[in-house]
């Protein structure tokens, strides 16, 4: 059963048992005013209404899964960063509260860290969220108020939009559009507009330079990023994530080993991983928010829940970027049988995210001119070489049919 099938069953159930009876009741209660309720009741009883309701359910489930993963990613980042830095990271838990309370109720409270303050600290995220909500939303005096409020909306909505665009498996998908990956990349590229807008509207020189850097960075990584994806599209003959993963699942290598795209297109994989790191703006490519010289760059003037949502949106983008990398190069949800494909997919995504966290806490940030140089002089030629290799491979694979088994493409 697919996610959509499940949602459709749920939609039929809710429409039949709950929504339609309620609307019918309204229609019968006030017959002269039955116009919206009655029409809605008819619509929910029809196929169109049920499919729409099913879509709403599917999108919300995908969104909830994405948001749950967001909390996990933030928590993972904190804990792994802490371990890299020889710290413990957040340890707050409800049990730790109770133990602390018991200590404080005693005669001599000890504020020392105790080994039995057990807890993995995941409620720290809730505490941070509550703190951010209670803070004042500051708008600078001479800022462009409309654009200042629009910047976060553009950035956050385009990032949250990403959550429903990629499938977790061929059955767990809110969307599996024929041009799925193109839509994902287009949604990825909306965010720099929000960055530029909020950087400009803040009326702050640091923010403006941060926004400009974001635009310059977009120019340098976006072209090699899309070119490195072109190789995968050539092999699969489709933009659809489900087709791309199917192609990787069927492709085999020596001794029948699976040949996911990162093996034949290793250059493309490297280029893509560097570019997607720049796309999601993580160290070493977080130039727009360089805290050393630009004081958090374009987010300098934002406070409270806006700043928190910026941070959350960046993690969502990170999660979505890792998901795209998994779909394109790491075989998506393909994996041995006993583990469900969704778990395989999330495992690979988290592997990439943990790798990124390690990178983030072990390397310095590079400079704007260096990322431009990297993008235009090194990654662009490499991605073109990758396309050349893929074209060559697609053309000559029939001659190596006995060792390489690729599906028919052209």
């Amino acid at each position: 059963m697919t996610l959509f099938g499940l949602c459709k069953t749920m939609a039929e159930l809710t429409a039949e048992k709950f929504i339609v009876p309620v609307l019918e009741f309204q229609r019968n209660l006030f017959p002269p005013f039955s116009y919206p309720a009655g029409d809605l009741a008819d619509w929910f009883a029809s196929e169109g209404g049920i499919v729409t309701l099913a879509w709403i359910y599917a999108v919300n489930i995908a969104f909830a899964v994405g948001m749950t993963n967001l909390i996990l990613v933030i928590h993972l980042e904190r804990k792994i960063a802490a371990r890299i830095q020889d710290r413990r990271g957040p340890m707050l838990s409800l049990r730790a509260f109770r133990e602390l309370g018991e200590d404080l109720a005693g005669e001599a409270p000890t504020w020392r860290f105790k080994g039995n303050y057990s807890g993995i600290g995941i409620i720290q995220n809730m505490a941070d969220g509550i703190k951010a909500i209670t803070k004042e939303l500051i708008i600078p005096n001479k800022a462009d108020k409309f654009l200042f409020s629009m910047g976060p909306i553009i950035f956050i909505s385009s990032s949250v939009f990403l959550l429903v665009l990629f499938p977790l498996s061929d059955r767990f998908a809110a969307s599996a559009a024929p041009a799925g990956l193109m839509v994902i990349m287009a949604a990825f590229s909306i965010a720099p507009i929000g960055v530029l807008t909020s950087g400009w509207a803040s009326n702050n020189k640091y923010s403006m330079i941060g926004g400009m850097r974001s635009a310059a960075q977009l120019m340098s990584y976006e072209i090699p990023l899309l070119l490195s994806m072109a190789g995968v599209f050539l092999l699969a003959g489709s933009y659809n994530p489900v087709d791309i993963v199917e192609q990787q699942r069927e492709a085999t290598w020596l001794f029948g080993l699976p040949m996911w795209n990162f093996i034949p297109q290793f250059i493309g994989f490297i280029v893509f991983m560097i570019c997607i790191l720049a796309e999601v703006e993580r160290v070493p490519f977080d130039l727009p928010e360089a805290e050393a010289e630009l004081v958090e760059g374009w987010t300098t003037e934002y406070s409270g829940i806006r700043y928190m949502l910026f941070l959350a949106a960046e993690y969502i983008r990170g999660f979505a970027g890792a998901a795209v990398a998994t779909i394109l190069f790491l075989g998506g949800w393909a994996g041995p049988w006993p583990v469900p494909p969704e778990i395989w997919f999330l495992l690979k995504v988290y592997l990439i995210i943990i790798f990124w966290i390690f990178i983030r806490w072990t390397v310095p940030r590079i400079r704007t001119d260096q990322i431009l140089e990297l993008g235009w002089k090194k990654l662009l030629p490499l991605s073109l070489i990758n396309i050349l290799i893929v074209i060559f491979m697609v053309e000559i694979y029939p001659y190596f049919d006995d060792i390489v088994n690729l599906p028919e493409v052209f």
């Binding site: 830095q85 020889d86 805290e291 050393a292 010289e293 072990t362 310095p364 704007t368 260096q370």
Partner: protein, 364 residues
């Protein structure tokens, strides 16, 4: 983008203290720079004229929070010259050990502060974790962790505690292991070198003309160290070398200035070990320390950041008549327009961090 002035400071992550750097940028390129100092001026020299000679060691401790013992030491040296006090040999050895421990702590503080400038937060925590070890060591004889007030006119406050040598040796061994471990994270890292190499260049001649001293000068390949040139305490009896590095023929960049400090830390470890080997028994305080002094005295020492110059005039009373401190960072920061021009905005933290700013001593 048109050219514009950006004011960095007094509250800015780049400043490492309280000062303002105004930079004129054309896009991201620095066209001009204008440092502004004086936010932290506490008039230490004037305050010292109202206090007795031995009271001033608490003021000199507060000149630089990262390297307080070295500043007290150079004041104490000047007073000893003014009063013509002989310091016992054991006290001189203890002073040397404390100075080098302080230099290690100061350089670690700098290295830890430099890494976030490059966007490397983990480096800060690693180096500051090691600094804690040396603060623990400095705490053992002096009793405090930041402002020690350990150097006294005519000797040191008290003798080293029992087991100090073993503890020091254990920590030094651990520290040396960790420095080797960090080499992969920092100096062998491609991105670290991309950020630091060929950035903030100045030649040795320029540095001498601008009054830049200390590790920043030795980073240009100039073999100049006051511990040898104008030796004090027992540095000439100890087996050690001046560390120099150069990025190219006769000039330094951020990377060579980083490396010269790492080398100096290794050299300090060597000095401390040799001091323990050669340290004699005996008193740690001079038997005769006068209260009044007259005449004038001038001493210069090699601080962690460069040449610390102390000038004292006594008029026969128990308080200095005039006291002048010359800080190495004052000249180095003042020269910053010369080595900032032409680089990118993102290089400002990398360059200004690499010269090891301490505003306490700069503004006095």
């Amino acid at each position: 983008m048109a050219e514009m002035w950006i004011s960095m400071g007094p509250q800015h992550p780049m400043t490492h203290g309280l000062w303002t750097l105004k930079v004129k940028v054309d896009g991201e390129t620095i066209v001009d720079a204008d440092p502004e100092l004086g936010y932290l001026h506490r008039s230490v020299e004037k305050m010292g004229e109202r206090r007795k000679y031995f009271m001033n060691t608490t003021l000199t401790d507060r000149l630089c929070y990262a390297s307080s013992t070295t500043w007290t030491h150079s004041y104490v040296l000047a007073v000893e010259e003014l009063m013509e006090v002989e310091v016992p040999t054991r006290a001189q050895y203890i002073r040397t050990i404390m100075l080098e421990l302080q230099r290690l702590a100061s350089h670690l503080m700098w290295a830890g502060a430099y890494m976030p400038d490059l966007g490397h937060i983990t480096g800060a925590l690693y180096f500051w974790r090691d600094r804690e070890l040396f603060l623990n060591l400095l705490e053992l004889p002096s009793g405090s962790r930041l402002l020690y007030n350990y150097m006294r006119i005519g000797g040191v406050k008290r003798d080293l505690p029992d087991g100090f040598e073993q503890k020091t040796e254990r920590i030094l061994k651990l520290f040396e292991q960790r420095l080797d471990e960090y080499a992969d994270l920092f100096e062998n890292s491609k991105i670290f070198r991309m950020r630091t190499e060929d950035v903030g260049k100045f030649t040795g001649t320029q540095a001498m003309n601008m009054g830049i001293t200390g590790p920043n000068l030795r980073g240009c390949g100039v073999k100049h160290d006051l511990r040898v040139e104008d030796t004090y305490e027992i540095y000439e009896e100890i087996d050690w070398d001046i560390c120099t590095r150069e990025a190219g023929p006769g000039y330094s960049d951020c990377f060579s200035r980083y490396m010269v400090r790492i080398d100096e830390m290794k050299e300090s470890v060597r000095i401390i070990r040799d001091c323990f080997k050669k340290m004699p028994q005996g008193p740690t305080m001079s038997s005769r320390v006068p209260v009044r002094a007259s005449g004038e005295a001038f001493r210069r020492t090699e601080d962690s950041r460069g040449e610390a110059l102390m000038y004292l005039v006594g008029d026969g009373s128990d308080r200095p008549y005039r006291w002048k401190i010359k800080s190495p960072m004052f000249t180095t920061i003042s020269a910053c327009p010369h080595y900032l021009k032409g680089y990118k905005l993102a290089d400002i933290p990398a360059i200004m961090g690499s010269i090891d700013i301490c505003i306490g001593e700069t503004d006095k």
